[in-house]
């Protein structure tokens, strides 16, 4: 069997991965180089900020030496790349933890939040879109029109604060929206990093309810803000297909409406996949306001604090993780594309 036929015999998703994966290495290196340089172009000297009252020329020099800031930028970069190859991203200046430890703790926090938010967003957005197209002119259609208009305009932190105010403070029907788990409940041992999953794996029911309850408001906030865009996109794509000739033909042939809707939905998946992929990658860093309001201790908060404090190792670590995550998401999107529409060649 020659190489070409072996290649062709591979399933398509595998072929895409085989082509795309090696590309990630130069991409990551580029990201690393650019962030390293850009971070150092930022104004602000971490040594000065850290020392405050105890700054003397000697302590500044000692601290700069400890942080490696006294060397040339290329020496710093080479040392940095060397460390990364050993899995060492440096120590954050403002949490005193190795950056890898911080990221391992914070990435699951954000991923848990945005995964549930995306699931709910897709559920709500697609359902509303389908319903409003199917019953065009109905109550849901009118409602989604209003919501679609508003969703683009309402900021997430505002929604979050309103939800806290009404549901927690006034009505008192949701658990305290601060942090991922109740202060008096011990977090489950880390397996996946998702508290809801880990607590179930550990069989810890109180931890599960506590963490699930605390997910409710932030997930709802992100969903309310993001489902609007997804709904509008799906609605456009779906209504075009739903009114196209082949659907009319299906209907004329007497296919059940449910089959027709399913077929039409499948045909309008491509733009939905694009948007979901984009939103997922985007939320990793952009959920920062929601994270701050709900004291989530996630990645976005970490990144913003790193920028404010000129915490170079933390910032670089975040960008690396974000870049890797986005590259993976886009890879998955490409694969899903092909599965959804075999005509597309990625």
């Amino acid at each position: 069997m020659n190489l070409q036929s072996f290649w062709r015999a591979l399933p398509r998703p595998l072929r895409i991965i085989a082509v795309r994966l090696p590309l990630i290495v130069p991409q990551m290196f580029g990201v690393m180089l650019v962030t390293f340089m850009l971070v150092r172009l930022l104004p602000g000297d971490p040594a000065l900020l850290m020392l405050g009252n105890t700054a003397t020329p000697e302590t500044i020099a000692a601290l700069r030496e400890r942080l490696g800031l006294d060397k040339s930028i290329w020496e710093q970069f080479i040392a940095y790349v060397g460390n990364i190859l050993h899995g060492d991203l440096g120590v954050s200046l403002f949490t005193s933890n190795p950056v890898t430890v911080d990221l391992m703790e914070r990435a699951p926090a954000t991923l848990e939040l945005i995964t549930y938010a995306m699931l709910l967003t897709v559920g709500v957005g697609v359902t509303l879109a389908v319903l409003s197209v199917v019953w065009r002119g109905g109550l849901i259609d009118a409602g989604t029109r209003m919501y679609g208009l508003a969703a683009g305009a309402i900021p997430d932190f505002w929604v979050g604060l309103l939800l806290i105010f009404f549901l927690f403070y006034i009505a008192g029907i949701v658990p305290a929206p601060f942090g991922r788990i109740d202060a008096l409940v011990t977090a489950p041992p880390q397996i996946t990093g998702f508290y809801t999953v880990d607590s179930l794996l550990a069989g810890d029911v109180s931890a599960f309810w506590s963490s699930a309850g605390r997910l409710l408001l932030p997930v709802l906030t992100l969903t309310i803000v993001n489902a609007g865009a997804l709904m509008k996109m799906t609605k456009t794509a779906f209504s075009d297909i739903y009114r196209s000739d082949f659907v009319r033909y299906q209907r004329a042939c007497g296919l059940s409406e449910r089959t027709i809707i399913r077929g039409a939905l499948r045909n309008s998946l491509s733009p939905v996949i694009t948007l979901v992929g984009f939103l997922f990658g985007f939320l990793l860093g952009a959920a920062v306001l929601v994270e701050t309001i709900f004291s989530w201790g996630g990645l976005g908060q970490y990144a913003v604090q790193a920028v404010i404090n000129s915490d170079y190792p933390a910032l670089q670590g975040f960008v690396l993780v974000a870049a890797a995550f986005i590259l993976i998401v886009y890879l998955v999107v490409d694969i899903l594309y092909e599965l959804a529409d075999p005509r597309i060649k990625v």
Binding site: T59, N97, V174, S295
Partner: protein, 545 residues
């Protein structure tokens, strides 16, 4: 028409199913939440939950001091000496700056020439890990501090002027340690009260020493080991710190067995959490929120006028602030009453001296800057700016109070033609700009934790001080400060510091604003509020009813 009827049918059923399904799942969700088990209540009186803006950046004493770090040190690290407690008229426990007491050192002796201090350690003191305090622990703490060239080293070289470790720090016997300094210092005993100078549990720390980390910096950054009332049981920066009581603390086991500090960056959320009863204590709230909380019976607000000084510093070496008249004019333009009312909701007082108002030696008798636009205009005209000038004022991103004050100051200064551009800058950028002297005006809020006028003046007004960012320079002030740092004649020191305050206030290197005080909001059943100069809460003093 016939064509569409199946669809209508199908659609209706879908609608019905959709509604009932969503209703059902919604119902399930709410019932599930309502029946979620409540937090355990049995430990309610020994567990304190605190909400603060930020967890400490490091647990190591040699990390530069920040507000969050000060509080941690107060609770975890025990020092050699302390001030005797004194209950104020407001029921708050303060420090009696005139009366030093023993802490880890049961007794101490200062030589008559004030060049030597001998500490006699308390016997039987146990750390949280169970190791006993002895001279070796003290000596190792000193050695570590000296070699890491950070906080300890700064106090020893900059304040006590110690030139080398050898000869300065000596172990006399297992429970006696002596510190010798080259020149007399009036701070020789008081300095050891500082929360940055805690004694480490050397036995515990040494277990974590490695060949490339001889002072266990990596371990101490995220772990604690000392003789204080608490140890850190869990440190997850950005989320929470859990303090566990040290049962063998030398003043007795703390009443609160566990203190959980949760990071909640948004102050509105700290308020909501306190009002809803999810936390017992909320730190660093905004004056507006405190004014609102004071009316609530479910919350108690403690207010003290501590040692913070909030001001706008002008770069005295940048034109037009090189001219004393310009600096005075701006001081005359500040509507202090408006700021206290509109921004601080009367939690603050005007600040009238570079020395904190609660410290010995403070005087406000030289302060004459009332709001007087005409006077400001004539001062500006004398200085050659009858139509004002353009300048820039920097403040920190995310600091709401400074932003509000900046807007008030902009319109106040505009009344004399001074056109201020407001620059909102990230902390690191702002710090870099005022350190390098490239921003003409910036907000500055700071406190000096040693209650000594000469120490404070030395930090902010000595032209040799690196944090004299306003670059105020007066040879007489420098001379008086340097004299007071080595003189042991207390009445003369206080007299000299009065003179320093007179010169400084008249030269007006800063725009004087306010003493913002320190406030803490708690549930009514939280008792024992106390205040210390680093503004960090000492949970040992607290209890719950």
């Amino acid at each position: 028409m016939k064509l569409f009827s199946p669809m209508m049918y199908e659609a209706r059923s879908l609608r019905e199913r959709g509604w009932s399904a969503s209703l059902l799942s919604g119902l399930m969700l709410t019932t599930a939440l309502a029946f979620a088990p409540p937090a355990q209540a049995q430990d309610a009186k020994t567990i304190l939950v605190v909400a603060g803006p930020r967890t400490p950046e490091s647990l190591d004493q040699e990390y530069p001091p920040t507000e969050a770090v000060h509080e941690l040190r107060r609770n975890v690290y025990e020092r050699l000496l302390t001030y005797a407690p004194k209950v104020g008229d407001d029921g708050v426990t303060y420090e009696d700056f005139g009366k030093i007491a023993g802490a880890l050192a049961e007794k101490w002796e200062v030589s008559p020439d004030k060049k030597e201090i001998t500490f006699f350690l308390r016997k039987g003191v146990k750390s949280a890990a169970g190791n006993e305090l002895n001279a070796d622990a003290v000596m190792w703490s000193f050695e570590r501090g000296w070699n890491l060239k950070s906080n300890f080293h700064w106090y020893m070289t900059q304040i006590l002027k110690i030139p080398a470790f050898e000869g300065a720090f000596t172990k006399i016997d297992d429970y006696t340690v002596k510190v010798s300094i080259p020149n007399p210092s009036p701070l020789l005993d008081r300095l050891w009260i500082n929360s940055d100078l805690g004694i480490l549990d050397a036995v515990e720390v040494k277990k974590h020493v490695t060949s490339d980390d001889p002072w266990a910096q990596r371990w101490l950054a995220t772990n604690s080991a000392s003789f204080g009332p608490y140890q850190v049981a869990k440190y997850s920066p950005g989320q929470e710190v859990v303090y566990e009581a040290n049962p063998s603390y030398y003043r007795g086991a703390p009443k609160l067995k566990r203190v959980i500090f949760r990071e909640m960056p948004t102050s509105a959320n700290r308020v909501a959490a306190l009002q809803a009863g999810s936390v017992d204590v909320a730190e660093y709230l905004l004056p507006r929120e405190l004014a609102l909380l004071e009316k609530s019976p479910a919350v108690r607000v403690h207010k003290v006028f501590g040692n913070y000084i909030h001001r706008v510093e002008m770069n005295n070496t940048t034109a037009p602030f090189t001219d004393e008249r310009v600096r005075k004019a701006l001081n005359h333009l500040v509507p202090r009453d408006d700021i206290l009312k509109a921004v601080y909701f009367n939690t603050a007082r005007p600040t009238k001296s570079p020395i904190s108002e609660i410290y010995p030696g403070f005087t406000d008798q030289y302060f004459t800057y009332n709001t007087d636009i005409e006077k400001a205009k004539s001062l500006l005209a004398e200085a050659g700016f009858p139509n004002g000038f353009k300048t820039e004022l920097g403040y920190r991103t995310g600091d709401q109070l400074e932003e509000e004050m900046a807007v008030i100051l902009k319109s106040a200064f505009a009344k004399a033609g001074v056109d201020v551009t407001l620059s909102k800058l990230p902390a690191s950028t702002l710090v870099e700009r005022y350190t390098k002297g490239t921003i003409p005006m910036y907000f500055f809020r700071d406190m000096a934790i040693v209650p000594d006028a000469a120490y404070v003046a030395n930090l902010w007004l000595n032209s040799a001080s690196l944090i004299n960012y306003s670059r105020f320079k007066s040879e007489e002030v420098d001379g008086l400060i340097n004299g007071a740092l080595t003189s042991t004649d207390e009445p003369k020191r206080l007299e000299d510091m009065k003179r320093v305050q007179k010169i400084m206030v008249e030269a007006a290197p800063w725009v004087f604003l306010a003493n913002p005080g320190y406030q803490l909001a708690t549930k009514p059943n939280v008792k024992g509020y106390s205040w210390y100069t680093p503004n960090g809460n000492a949970w040992f003093d607290f209890s719950k009813e």
